[in-house]
C-alpha cells in the first residue's frame, strides 16, 4: 500500500489560509490503513484545524468527508456536492488522490494535507517500512523476494558492500542489511546459485526518467 503521514497542524493552516470554507477530504483506501488520512484522521485533523484557527482569530469552516477512493474518478463523484459547496479541498489522500481531485474539479483549489512517503507494508503495530520503489522493472525473482533497490541503502545489485556490522546496515544500524536477508532467504529456498550470476547495471529507463509513466492496455480500452 501507499504509506503517508500527516503534515503538522500549523503547516496545514498556512496551506488553507486564503480560504474561509474548506473541505477536508479523507480516503478510505491506503491512507486509512496507514492511519494517516481515513475517516478518523479527518475527524481529528478537522478538530485541530478549527481549534488552531479560532486561537489565531481566523475564520475557518472545515467540512469533513471521507470517500472510498480518491484516485478513481468513479468514487470522486461522491465528493462532488461537498466540493461544490466549499472554497477549497484539503485532501488527506496520497499524491495520486490529490492530483485526481485537481483534474476532476478544475477551477477548485486542491491541496495536499499529507506527505506521501512510499510503497510499503505494516512491519509491526505502528511501524511501516518501504518495500517497493516502483522502479518499473521488477528484479525480486533474482533476490529471493527481497528488493535490493528499496532495502539496501546503497542499492547494491551484486552482493553486500562489506560495510555491514553483524546483520545491520552500515548506513542505518536500525535496519537489517538487505544483503544479509537476501543471502539467508536464497539459502533457505536452495537458490544460492543465483548469486553467482553477475547482474549488469540496472536499466533505469522504466523508472522515473522522462516524466510521468503510463501503462496502456489496448484490450481494455473502449
Amino acid at each position: 500500500m501507499i504509506v503517508a503521514q500527516r503534515k503538522n497542524i500549523p503547516e496545514l493552516l498556512s496551506i488553507v489560509e486564503k480560504h474561509r470554507k474548506v473541505l477536508l477530504l479523507g480516503c478510505g483506501t491506503c491512507v486509512t490503513v496507514c492511519l494517516a488520512g481515513g475517516q478518523r484522521e479527518v475527524s481529528i485533523i478537522a478538530s485541530a484545524l478549527r481549534m488552531v484557527a479560532k486561537l489565531k482569530n481566523r475564520a475557518l469552516e472545515v467540512e469533513e468527508l471521507t470517500i472510498e477512493r480518491q484516485c478513481d474518478n468513479v468514487f470522486l463523484e461522491q465528493a462532488a456536492e461537498a466540493v461544490k459547496n466549499t472554497d477549497a479541498v484539503l485532501s488527506l489522500g496520497c499524491g495520486a488522490g490529490v492530483q485526481a481531485l485537481a483534474e476532476r474539479f478544475n477551477g477548485k483549489p486542491v491541496y495536499a494535507g499529507l506527505d506521501t512517503a512510499f510503497i510499503g507494508i505494516l512491519e509491526e503495530r505502528g511501524v511501516w517500512a518501504e518495500k517497493c520503489a516502483a522502479c518499473g522493472q521488477c528484479v525480486l525473482h533474482l533476490y529471493g523476494g527481497i528488493c535490493p533497490i528499496t532495502r539496501c541503502a546503497k542499492k547494491m545489485m551484486n552482493g553486500p558492500c562489506s560495510g555491514s556490522r553483524e546483520d545491520r546496515c552500515e548506513v542505518n544500524p536500525d535496519r537489517p542489511c538487505a544483503w544479509q536477508l537476501i543471502f539467508k532467504r536464497l539459502k533457505e529456498i536452495g537458490q544460492l546459485d543465483r548469486l553467482k550470476e553477475i547482474k549488469p547495471p540496472k536499466n533505469w529507463r522504466p523508472s522515473q526518467s522522462g516524466g510521468c509513466r503510463t501503462i496502456v492496455r489496448e484490450d481494455h480500452r473502449v
Binding site: 497542524i9 475527524s43 481529528i44 478538530s47 485541530a48 481549534m51 488552531v52 486561537l55
Partner: protein
C-alpha cells in the same frame, strides 16, 4: 464581595474496572473531591481515541483526565498502555494547535485507590485553574460537551 474564582470544567474518562469504581468508593468513604469533573465511564481506557480528547477540547473542556488501571493490571491486558500512547500523541497535537499539554493528563488508579483519585482530581483542577480557561471556550456553546460523538 468574594472575588470570583475560575472553576474549570474537566472531562474525566474513567475506566469501568478501576477509576470509576474508585470514584464510587470515594463516595462510600465520604472522601470529598472538587465537583469540577464530569465523569464519563468507559469500558476500558483502550477504547478512547485521540478524536474524543480533541472533541472535548474543541467543545470547550478546560481539561481532560484519563484514568485507567495500574500498568499491568488492565482487565483487557494492555488497553491502558494503548491509552497512554494515544494521550502522549494527543498532547503533542495540542501543542501544535497552541493549547497547553498539561490540560490533558493520564493517571493510573486501581479500584481501591479512592484517596489517590481524589488527590489526583484536586491536583488536576488546580493545574488547570492555574492555566486559566480553555481559550476556545468563549467561542463555543458548552452544552455541546454532552454531544461527544462516538463511533460504533
Amino acid at each position: 464581595m468574594k472575588p470570583q474564582v475560575f472553576e474549570p470544567k474537566i472531562v474525566a474518562f474513567c475506566c469501568h474496572y478501576c477509576a470509576y469504581s474508585s470514584a464510587d468508593l470515594a463516595g462510600s468513604m465520604r472522601i470529598q473531591y472538587p465537583p469540577n469533573v464530569r465523569i464519563i465511564r468507559t469500558p476500558c481506557t483502550g477504547r478512547l481515541e485521540t478524536e474524543y480528547f480533541m472533541k472535548a477540547f474543541e467543545n470547550g473542556a478546560d481539561g481532560v483526565l484519563v484514568a485507567g488501571c495500574l500498568e499491568g493490571g488492565c482487565h483487557f491486558v494492555e488497553g491502558n498502555l494503548c491509552a497512554k500512547r494515544r494521550v502522549t500523541y494527543t498532547r503533542d497535537m495540542l501543542a501544535e494547535v497552541g493549547l497547553e499539554k498539561e490540560r490533558l493528563r493520564m493517571v493510573n488508579i486501581s479500584a481501591a485507590m479512592a484517596r489517590p483519585l481524589a488527590d489526583t482530581i484536586t491536583d488536576m483542577v488546580e493545574t488547570v485553574r492555574n492555566l486559566g480557561p480553555n481559550p476556545l471556550k468563549s467561542k463555543n456553546n458548552l452544552t455541546n460537551l454532552t454531544k461527544l460523538e462516538t463511533r460504533s
